[in-house]
């Protein structure tokens, strides 16, 4: 292969490094009005009166919108396929506010300073309602967060708003109770995960304008331009044909830009004023008023024989979706769906629980969603069980984990919000990943711990992980390839590059199929008017789903070229050999270049535009696998600990671009380590987020973890484009359990709540000594 599995360099890195205008805010109309949103200071309140007169009469203010300006149409901002598995429980603006930072009113003004001043002039009288701030007390709480009659589920998801339940689910394969009774050893624990923030460097941004056809054009930093178009159309009752959504370059997403943010507001302002406008979230709004990871309590019980055969898995989840139910069901189901199949030899497995509403910032999609929470709980519990059994945790995993050619009944039972899809593991090199990882980290010499000095101890920890590659029968990608004169191509995809490099890897796939070089494939993503449909950049789907669509379109284009070449050369297509540059008639000296063929097609004879269009929807979701390992050094007096080394061995099938794949894993690991170690989320007792800026919410800098060692297993997934599976999310899943296991191995205390801070480690040591 000439392009695939090569480090071709990214197609956009240079332009972005040089600061060429590329991001949503760079592309706003220079005369755009500035849009600002008045935010609720209360976690739960009813707006009794809202007076906008003073703000409206301020010079330079163009409009002020409140709930009175919008028809009550419940939607979900989740940015999923239709019908969505999320409840329709959100109005563009409502007379009830449900968390500190919730939308109250929208102002558009000539300058940012005027808009800010106008916000201060809006008078709101609130009736304070009782907030629900503890998700373990939300179920059947007297205070009901969503009593509105209009809200509904699109299909059964266990939606019971009168009990503060956004979604619920239960499944059981075999009889967990019966099998558990037979087990020699069981281990039970509860685990807590926090509302991690995405902290993409580009804040949520949207702008809007009316074009000369009087259509609404929205630029948005979105991962889902097509869903954004549909949902804006539903919420504001604008015909979809009148809306164009353009996704320019995106400054990071991590799932945070799957859901909608400012799109409703810029659309409404432009429709009302007929003027262009823009909205850029402040960093505080990104923290308080967008979405976070769903915090969860996960209760796990594992049962095994005394020989170390895992027999039963029982997982119960309570998930906190905050004020609105975006991704409530799906994130929670993935906590089971992407962890339970790892141990496919069990006789019984049960998964269930509910997702509750609280008066906190809503949960939403976030890289590795559900999987990272579930993985932390299950993979911590496995080590806990091994400790009880007195068996080596790696030997235990090797005995019980899934292997190539095998399946798990969980695949068929559980999908994301719906039933799942049965599948065999046609590619699974997990055994290699474990062995190689052990070797790289030096497990045999280092497990479980070594004392370095009177105050320092070193230890190792590990865990397994799996993800998926898109959602079968739902996630769809498509591609259009057109041939240009002189013989280069345009590749138009709805798939959204959000910084992960998908434009580059899709160009590589197209170039490989077209036998050309990456510079001959000009990629454009994505624009609801110009590019074909794609569900968007989520669920680890772009390489596998959109990549397959690109490959199909490119293969088709190759056939079209050969056919036209045959016509031009007066032979049958099967007589042509095309190497990407020259079309040669077999066994003769007759040939023509692609350049002359394409010039002929445009200017001379048989004139036509060659266009290939194709789509792909997965019929399975081949999981990438990974084994993660860390060596840590703990200061037993201060509780501080350093990750000396993090090793990841990944099976993601073929790496389309090995460098980009590696950085997906490296970046995922550090983001996961952020959740595992640093990213504390603190609310005060009034329901206000204290960790609402980058001074208080600490993401890792370049000094915290400097050794991340990623390798790939030699693996080929036949259903993927050139053998590829996904790689976008798998990297984030392992750090919480790996760190928890390593810390246990160092100090003999298991920390069950994230993040595992130095203070918690010190407190654990201190309490143990007492």
């Amino acid at each position: 292969m000439k392009c695939v599995n090569h480090n071709t360099g990214s197609i956009d890195g240079k332009g972005l490094m040089l600061g060429r205008p590329a991001y949503t805010n760079d592309l706003a109309d220079p005369n755009a009005l500035t849009v600002k949103v008045l935010r609720s200071p209360h976690p739960h309140a009813k707006i009794l009166n809202i007076d906008t007169q003073k703000a409206l009469s301020l010079e330079g203010v163009e409009c002020v919108l409140t709930y009175k300006d919008f028809k009550r149409i419940p939607v979900t901002r989740a940015g999923q396929g239709y019908p969505e598995p999320s409840p329709h429980d959100k109005f563009v603006l409502d007379s009830v506010v449900r968390y500190v930072g919730d939308d109250v009113a929208v102002v558009a003004a000539e300058t940012e300073a005027i808009a800010t001043r106008a916000l201060e002039l809006i008078r709101v009288d609130y009736e304070i309602l009782e907030p629900v701030l503890d998700f373990e007390k939300a179920y059947e709480n007297e205070s009901i967060i969503h009593p509105e009659p209009e809200i509904h589920e699109m299909f059964p998801i266990g939606f019971e708003p009168e009990k503060n339940v956004a979604a619920a689910y239960h499944m059981e394969i075999g009889s967990v109770e019966a099998v558990m009774d037979q087990c020699d050893v069981t281990a039970t624990s509860s685990y807590y995960t926090q509302a991690q923030a995405h902290v993409m460097m580009e804040p949520h941004t949207a702008n809007a304008r009316l074009d000369f056809q009087d259509r609404l054009v929205i630029y948005s930093s979105t991962q889902t331009p097509f869903h954004a178009r549909r949902i804006v159309s539903q919420a504001l009752e604008i015909p979809m044909s009148k809306i164009r959504v353009i996704k320019p370059r995106i400054g990071g997403g991590f799932g945070g830009k799957q859901c909608l943010h400012g799109e409703f507001f810029v659309a409404a302002v432009t429709m009302k004023t007929k003027k262009p406008c823009k909205l850029v979230y402040t960093r505080k709004e990104v923290f308080e008023s967008s979405y976070s990871r769903h915090p969860m309590r996960i209760d796990v019980t594992l049962g095994s024989t005394k020989e170390g055969e895992l027999k039963a898995l029982d997982v119960h989840v309570l998930s906190d979706t905050g004020a609105y139910g975006e991704h409530a069901l799906t994130v929670f189901m993935v906590a089971g769906a992407k962890t339970l199949p790892l141990y496919n030899k069990v006789e019984a497995v049960r998964f269930g629980g509910r997702v509750v509403y609280t008066n906190h910032t809503p949960g939403g999609a976030f890289r590795g969603y559900g999987a990272i929470q579930g993985n932390f709980a299950v993979e911590s519990a496995v080590d806990q069980l091994c400790e009880k059994l007195g068996v080596d945790p790696i030997e235990f995993r090797k005995t019980n984990m899934i292997a190539e050619g095998e399946t798990s009944p969980v695949f068929a039972k559980m999908g994301e919000g719906t039933e799942g899809t049965a599948m065999n593991m046609d590619s699974c090199k997990l055994d290699y990943c474990v062995d190689r990882g052990m070797e790289l980290i030096g497990w045999k010499d280092k497990y479980p711990r070594k004392s370095i000095s009177k105050t320092k101890v070193r230890s190792v920890g590990m865990c397994l992980a799996m993800q998926g590659s898109g959602i079968p029968y739902i996630d769809m990608g498509s591609a259009i390839i057109k041939l240009n004169d002189t013989g280069f191509y345009n590749l138009m995809v709805g798939a959204t590059d959000i910084g992960q490099g998908s434009d580059t890897i899709l160009a590589q796939i197209a170039a490989e199929s077209l036998k050309t070089t990456v510079d001959k494939v000009i990629v454009y993503s994505s624009d609801s008017d110009l590019t074909p449909f794609d569900t968007g950049a989520y669920a680890s789907s772009t390489t596998y789903v959109s990549g397959n669509a690109v490959k199909k379109a490119a293969d088709q284009m190759l056939e079209m070229i050969v056919e036209e070449g045959a016509k031009a050369l007066g032979v049958r297509p099967e007589d042509i050999h095309f190497d990407g540059v020259i079309l040669k008639v077999n066994d003769t000296d007759t040939s023509m270049t692609l350049e002359s063929l394409s010039n002929r097609l445009f200017y001379n004879e048989d004139q036509k535009q060659l266009v290939a269009a194709n789509s792909y929807v997965g019929t399975k979701s081949p999981p990438p696998f990974m084994a993660g390992f860390a060596e840590v050094e703990v200061d037993i007096e201060t509780g501080e600990f350093k990750v000396l080394d993090y090793v990841a061995v990944v099976d993601c099938g073929t790496t389309i671009n090995p460098s980009l794949a590696k950085v997906q894993v490296e970046g995922g690991i550090l983001q996961g380590l952020g959740m595992a170690m640093f990213e504390e989320v603190i609310y005060n007792k009034n329901g206000s987020l204290i960790t609402n800026n980058l001074m208080n919410y600490k993401i890792p800098t370049r000094k915290e973890v400097t050794n991340i060692h990623v390798e790939f297993a030699d693996s080929y997934e036949a259903s993927g484009p050139y053998g590829a599976k996904s790689v976008g999310e798998i990297g984030i899943d392992t750090p919480p359990a790996v760190i928890a296991n390593a810390i246990y191995n160092a100090i003999g205390v298991r920390i069950n709540s994230l993040p595992i801070t130095s203070e918690k480690v010190w407190a654990a040591i201190h309490n143990k000594e007492k």
Binding site: T638, N696, K698, R702, E704, E759, A763
Partner: protein, 267 residues
């Protein structure tokens, strides 16, 4: 912060007079201005007063209040003075792009509890020179700010020769400290400063007295000294750490810090 008018006087007296106006305030580097929730009717930028140099004599370093943190850090003499303790402390403050803006005057005048720099300045016995008030020790200034509005001109560090140490515990490298400790030893005389308690840095005077009356130090004496520090200093809780954790960190960091400066040529 909102600033209604901005002035950059070139005359000190003029700056002083402007400062006496209602809601007038000084703009130093300006790095943290926007985090302050107040409105200045008169913002007085000291950039025109030539306060941005470090002067060195046989006896003293005189640091202008508008000297940036980066200037101190990279100053060939002051940066490496006393085991490079100021350089070490400053290197923990955010990144270079902020250290090129933030000034020592802004840091001192802010009396920030979270400061990395105030703790070693306290251990180095820094003195402050105000335009009207004249010399004030940093120690007293941290205990109580001036009653009258005044302009900080210089920070003076009297040159001494000995050993110094700075250490801090942070969540991540660009965070504010959960706690920090700076210790100096001149001859046999120790100074121990503890900051980010989370309130402003203080000297552990009883600890210092205990250390200074013991002619020969041992591990036991040092451990006792750390215990005294924990008893004499008050700690609080905030989002970065609890009182209990800060108390523990103080004990450990003071003990380790003393050992580092006390035992010459040992590890």
């Amino acid at each position: 912060m909102k600033i209604k008018t901005y002035t950059m006087p070139t005359d000190l007296e003029e700056a002083y007079q402007l400062l006496q106006e209602k809601d007038a305030g000084i703009i130093a580097g300006g790095a943290w201005l926007k985090l302050l929730p107040k409105t200045l009717t008169q913002g007085i930028d000291l950039s025109g007063l030539k306060l941005d140099t470090i002067n060195e004599t046989e006896e003293n370093y005189t640091i202008g209040s508008m000297v940036t943190l980066r200037q101190i850090e990279t100053h060939t003499s002051l940066g490496t003075y006393m085991d490079g303790v100021l350089q070490e402390a400053i290197s923990h403050i955010m990144g270079v792009p902020i250290r090129n803006i933030a000034t020592i005057g802004g840091t001192v005048a802010g009396r920030f509890g979270f400061s990395d720099l105030l703790t070693p300045l306290l251990a180095l016995k820094a003195n402050l020179v105000f335009y009207k008030k004249g010399q004030v020790t940093l120690e007293s200034y941290l205990k109580e700010a001036l009653k009258e509005k005044d302009i900080l001109l210089q920070i003076i560090i009297k040159k001494e020769y000995g050993k110094a140490h700075y250490t801090t515990v942070k969540k991540t490298a660009n965070d504010f400290p959960i706690l920090n400790v700076s210790i100096t030893k001149i001859g046999t005389h120790f100074r121990v400063a503890v900051g980010a308690r989370p309130s402003a840095a203080v000297l552990a005077t009883k600890t210092m007295a205990y250390l200074n009356e013991n002619k020969t130090l041992s591990d036991d004496i040092i451990e006792k000294a750390a215990k005294i520090a924990v008893e004499e200093i008050s700690f609080g809780s905030n989002a970065r750490g609890s009182k209990a954790y800060r108390t523990q960190l103080c004990k450990v960091l003071v003990e380790r810090g003393i050992k580092e400066v006390a035992y010459e040529n040992t590890n």
